[in-house]
């Protein structure tokens, strides 16, 4: 089982199943008979929303557009329509909901951009991610600390002191995460300036974004393992108090 890449090449035109007229792929309703169009193999959430491929998005505007399109597609309004229109409404609504979910969140928005720009997904393919080079030092340090804390906990060390240690071990990771978020924002802004840039420049920005997403997953995993350790320190602390 492999994850299915989003098709990069949407078909160029749609055919209206009601009147047979052709329509551009980003149209939702037939320009000729105004019936809802069946969803083609659409792959681009930005153009589905009628938005340019930009990463900095006005959330309120996105939300308005979502409500507006929902009002046009929702199956509630096609109850009396022909079967093909009902199916089209169901597919378009589902797709709209998927698209909104992806675009609403800045990180999944970047993931989607990478996919439609033809980059491999920013996920470890086999689950055994190797440490991103930019994080080697922090990871090494943290794992050492976690091992020591775990050992000390198992041999009955003072939970309060261990919690303090864990807290200070967490600090550099938190800092890294904040720094990381700033970098993602800066790269996103840079991408949005790229309308006249060369393909190579664009590609470099995308590669950098992808690198950041891999790092981000890694940082989140580190924070999760710190949280897990913190939790195993909790019950002991309670029974003392």
């Amino acid at each position: 089982m492999t994850p299915d890449p989003i098709p990069a090449q949407p078909v160029a035109t749609l055919e209206c199943r009601n009147c047979g007229a052709g329509a551009p792929v980003d149209e939702h309703f037939c320009p000729q008979c105004s019936r809802i169009l069946a969803l083609g193999r659409h792959g681009d959430y930005f153009s589905f929303f009628g938005l340019p491929r930009r990463l900095v998005i006005d959330q309120a505007q996105l939300e308005r557009r979502f409500r507006d399109l929902s009002r046009q597609f929702h199956p509630d309004y096609f109850y009396n329509a022909a079967a093909t229109e009902r199916l089209a409404s169901l597919e378009r609504s589902s797709y709209l909901n998927d698209a909104y979910r992806a675009l609403r969140n800045p990180i999944s928005r970047i993931e989607h951009l990478l996919a439609i720009e033809g980059l491999p997904p920013a996920k470890s393919e086999d689950g055994t991610a190797k440490v991103p080079p930019g994080l080697l030092e922090e990871v090494f340090e943290l794992n050492e600390q976690l091992d020591e804390i775990r050992e000390s906990r198992e041999s009955g060390g003072d939970p309060a002191a261990l919690r303090d240690r864990l807290e200070s071990a967490r600090k550099p990771i938190d800092l890294k995460r904040e720094e990381h978020e700033r970098e993602v924002e800066a790269l996103s802004a840079r991408w949005d300036q790229h309308s006249t840039a060369s393909p190579a420049e664009k590609r470099a920005t995308l590669d950098a974004l992808r690198e950041r997403l891999l790092e981000r997953n890694y940082i989140n995993n580190l924070l999760a393992s710190i949280d897990r350790e913190a939790q195993s320190l909790e019950p002991k602390a309670e029974s003392r108090g």
Binding site: M1, T2, P3, D4, R67, S70, R71, H74, P75, D76, Y77, Y79, N80, L90, E91, S93, S94, Y95, N97, D98, Y100, R101
Partner: protein
Amino acid sequence: MANVVGIDLGTTNSLVAYVRDGVPQVIRDASGDALVPSVVSLGEDGTFFVGREAQRRLLTAPSRSVYSVKRFMGRGIDDVRDEAELLPFRIGGEVGGVVRIGLDDREFTPPEISAFVLRELKQRAEDHFRAQGEFDFEVDRAVITVPAYFNDAQRTATRDAGRLAGLEVLRIVNEPTAASLAYGLDRRDRGIIAVYDLGGGTFDISILKVEDGVFQVLATNGDTHLGGDDIDRLLMELVLRELDGSREQDPSHAVGRVLHSRPAEDIQAIRKVVIAAKHDLTDVEETEICLDSLDYRRRITRGEFERLIRPLVERTIQPVRQALADAGLEPAEVDEAVLVGGSTRVPFVRRIVSELFGRTPHSELNPDEVVALGAAVQADILISGRREMLLLDVTPLSLGIETMGGVVSKIILRNSTIPASGREMFTTGVDNQTSVDIHVLQGERELANDCRSLARFKLRGIPPMPAGLPRIEVRFQIDANGILSVAASELRTNIAQTIEVKPSYGLTDQEVERMLIESFEHAQADIDARLLIEARNEAETVINATEKTLRRPDFSEIASVDLQPGERGKIESALERLKQAMGGTDRDAVRDLTHALNHATQHLAEVMMNRGVREALAGKNVKDV
């Protein structure tokens, strides 16, 4: 065009509502009662009773009467064994299959029992439309509500029940969302709404964002086994422990066994009085639980009641916090909290909700009726195509499939706006393999064993190819009802796959078809049962009126002045004969004896009317003086 209604198919009570001229209203019976108890009882002669009549029979024929069947919808015997012990009716079924309810020598699935309640509501609505003088009074389509936290199997079971009752189910709508529609009608402004819905058997919390007439659910959570029934059960246990003090010492004695050591009639009698006490404690600080038949009597204060139910009510807190977290909101960001469900009448529940959201919750609309009103609004939106309001709901549970090692791979995450779709690619593990097994699950846990099994599919007709070469795309579609459908195709050859669905806890289409045919076969018996109920209701009205007159302190005087000799005796014997017939199921006898009593009291009625007129005139004279 026939009529469309909204139905709240509740654990304890059900209601039906409709929209006229943009205004939703619930349909009441002649006595003004909107609630139809969700109780079904099988008469000794094979006829069925539904609603009030069936509720009465809980006391006289408990083993032939089913209540709270909603708790068993879409569930397996292994899910419900614990609570089945407490019920007077038989619960059975194969392990891994749907629950079967035994009444007399017949067996029913929960959708079949629910269909009786739905038919009753359909009938009630048709009677109402007929009485309104509508030419086409038939009701053939409905929106039916379910708890937001219902899974796919529970939703499908509800839809099956609708089909069995002869209704096209236009939409399955979540109860809290429906309630928000009813509330939103006259306040179409913007804001964040939290709907806290504690009903007879289920708890839901939904967080909605309302803007421009779009009611968008941000997150939902709940517990499909938490409600008023559980409060009743705590009180019943309290009474049983006190009735049976010695066994309290023995912790090995499960309550179920204590219950079973008593006749079902006793259990139902206890249930009836503790429910009355619960209702009392909404308005007064102290009340009495009184059971003459068991020589039991005790006072209970609201404080004592609250200590008893606190752990239950507190089980609603975690789902509320989770829903808020999933919506990315703090409690203070909620603009309005709305109470739905009969159990939110309990003052302690209101206090908990106030504390959770830091504000007094809304309860302007009757918490029993608001869901049905919302269902009617949604039905009206669907058939009218009007677009002022739109409801965007979510799927309450993540959908996934079992992968290697029993781990669940999530395909559609919980709180995704519906309709929602997902895709997953499969391939083969062996050369020339032509089928693949797929196990679909719902739930948040990582392991398949901890999630709810929805169905097992077998993908067939894969073209023979070397292992790993086929690219089979399986598409999952959750529709606006929150119900899943699956389609698959092999992408290399573009061959669509046959999917054989075996719902884990549901009925196959064939089973539903068979039940439909059976229900037609029983239709005559059902009509007979209805006619009997109508005859009884009429009889009851005449009996009550007669008894009321006979009880008057001045009746002896009236009798001696205005009645002929022997007339009183005739009336009393006609009354007695009718009351005896009421105990049986002979409809003709009930009808004839009702006429007889009517006839016997005709003169008395005239006398009483004349006296009434005289008294009124006399009163007027006095005042005029």
